[in-house]
Subunit: 331 residues, 2 copies
């Protein structure tokens, strides 16, 4: 279908922080052409990206058509649908419908949306296989940390036995600040909300649901399970006291909200100082237990619109290479 030198056509479905980040990072890449951008209010066809970003920034509508997101997916010519609408773990919508239709219409899909993958991982992978297209989701798991690629491409010399990690930057920030300053949970949560590190409604993060979502996606993708959030034993960080953290610190431990992928468990745990998972601030970290390579830990920013956009760009480039049969792309 494609020849080397051709451009790959993408649509961006969802135009919040991540969608805008994607537009910003792809706009100067010569082999990527954005054929449509959809937000919740309308669709810009063959958009001038700079202009659309500016309109969005000042609150103007981006639409220049009477199409909807689903119209773009079904009717507008493109090779890769970039689905970056907000995560909804209740029913996965509207992302689930977007991804299903995109795959059925022969589009490859790159997504940062955990909802559809948490609800219907195996169905979507099967659909991609049936329609001979690719579904990539690096950004759903570790933000900028290339977890999935690392396991699938870089660690081919070892079998992966388990993955455990600190998968939520908001929780890690709260626990780090409570430990360092001896402050209580509510105080630090307010501070984190003021700084934009925690959402106005922090439930999803602090109850451990975001961490559990990542556990589900890794369990299904790396360990070929067939599980959903219902299968995960989840304890959040809301009941942790400053006293408990102080006691841990006195013994050179820190407390982290740990997701255990094989164990299907999310809970606060003590980690010794100097351990690779003992990272502070908003950092994420994931330890990959292997048979031959021992324990490999990756640490990085788990969230942030540019970091997430960078993971999405990595997936777009990897699909582009597959489509073109190129293996030595420098950009």
């Amino acid at each position: 279908m494609h020849k080397y030198g051709k451009r790959v056509k993408i649509s961006i479905i969802g135009f919040g922080a991540v969608g805008q980040g994607v537009a910003a990072v792809v706009k100067d890449i010569p082999f990527i052409e954005v054929t449509a951008i959809a937000d919740s209010k309308g669709v810009a066809i063959t958009p001038d990206i700079e202009e659309v970003l500016n309109r969005k920034r000042v609150g103007l509508p981006i639409s220049n058509s009477n199409l909807s997101a689903i119209d773009v997916i079904m009717k507008v010519d493109h090779d890769i649908t970039v689905e970056v609408t907000p995560t909804n773990i209740i029913d996965g919508e509207p992302g689930l419908m977007h991804i299903r239709e995109a795959l059925k219409h022969g589009r490859n899909v790159v997504t940062s949306n955990k909802g559809p993958l948490v609800k219907r991982f195996n169905e979507l992978m099967q659909l991609a296989s049936n329609y001979k297209v690719m579904l990539r989701y690096e950004a759903t798991v570790g933000g900028a940390m290339p977890m999935i690629n690392l396991v699938q491409e870089a660690l081919t010399g070892s079998k992966v036995r388990n993955i455990v990690g600190v998968f939520n930057g908001t929780c890690n920030y709260i626990l780090t600040r409570m430990t360092e300053e001896g402050l209580d949970y509510n105080h630090v949560l307010s501070e984190a909300q003021d700084m934009g590190i925690a959402e106005a409604d922090p439930t999803y993060d602090v109850m451990g649901i975001d961490t559990a979502s990542k556990v589900v996606i890794l369990a299904n993708s790396v360990f070929k399970q067939n599980v959903t959030l219902d299968d995960v034993d989840i304890t959040g960080i809301v009941k942790i006291t400053a006293d408990a953290l102080r006691l841990a610190k006195e013994r050179s431990y820190s407390v982290k909200l740990i997701g255990d992928v094989k164990g299907l468990k999310v809970s606060p745990m003590m980690v010794p100082a100097g351990h690779p998972l003992s990272v502070g601030g908003t950092l994420n970290a994931a330890s990959i237990m292997t048979d031959n390579a021992g324990e490999i830990t990756v640490t990085g920013k788990g969230a942030g619109s540019i970091e997430t956009a960078s993971a999405i760009l990595g997936d777009i480039i990897s699909i582009y290479k597959e489509l073109e049969g190129v293996d030595d792309l420098h950009c």
Copy 2:
């Protein structure tokens, strides 16, 4: 040349801890056939791997031929030469000769030997390109940590600006123990030698030369430089006092021997607690500074024969996939 389902033929040149580790991990992999194993005393042709490993273990010669290592490279049919003789940073030999001849005879090469790459990186890569074969060296840099693959395959969505890291487990062990126990350098060095963590002659590690070798290989491979050890500003750990480490610890810092790849510098530096490079014991860690993905850190065992063998196996598999045009190999 190869079809899917065919076996890839390898020779193992060098049969110390790493070579034996490679033999042990590849012996049960159905698509890998070992056609020859060479140690410093002789060559086993079409070896029974189990038997050769047993003979080596009890000190018996492995040779069943009158060939030498270089004869194997030039005359024995194989696709991949696995060059795992000991690192020699003075002139790179005998590894340099082995790798040159292997490439000139159309063999792909996988190596854990830093010597040839530190001395002649660009010459060898050019030779591989001229003869249309691959030269892979994941094991030279981070042992089990898939640094090169991570940068070249997994982080395609970002430009890499710099890499800084803790690249030597022996130094890290010595500094960690000195800090934890308040012991002096000579005491901890003796302990590390007793435990097999430091060599009888620890010069190469504690003077920073091993770290600098990794800096050179990363500078040449990731940043397309043309540098050797002479270009690196090197300070080791031998002059660090227990007092200095205690003072740092009181301020919640630890001291690590840091290699700075873009800066071409190796020196002890203070790292704050909770920082991803603040890993203890014999661990290695490398922080990859990127434009979009922020700072990604990989932590793992930098050495160990099975860990190194696992990195070599990863390289063999990746060459096998290229030769076969397979992209979805599960083993």
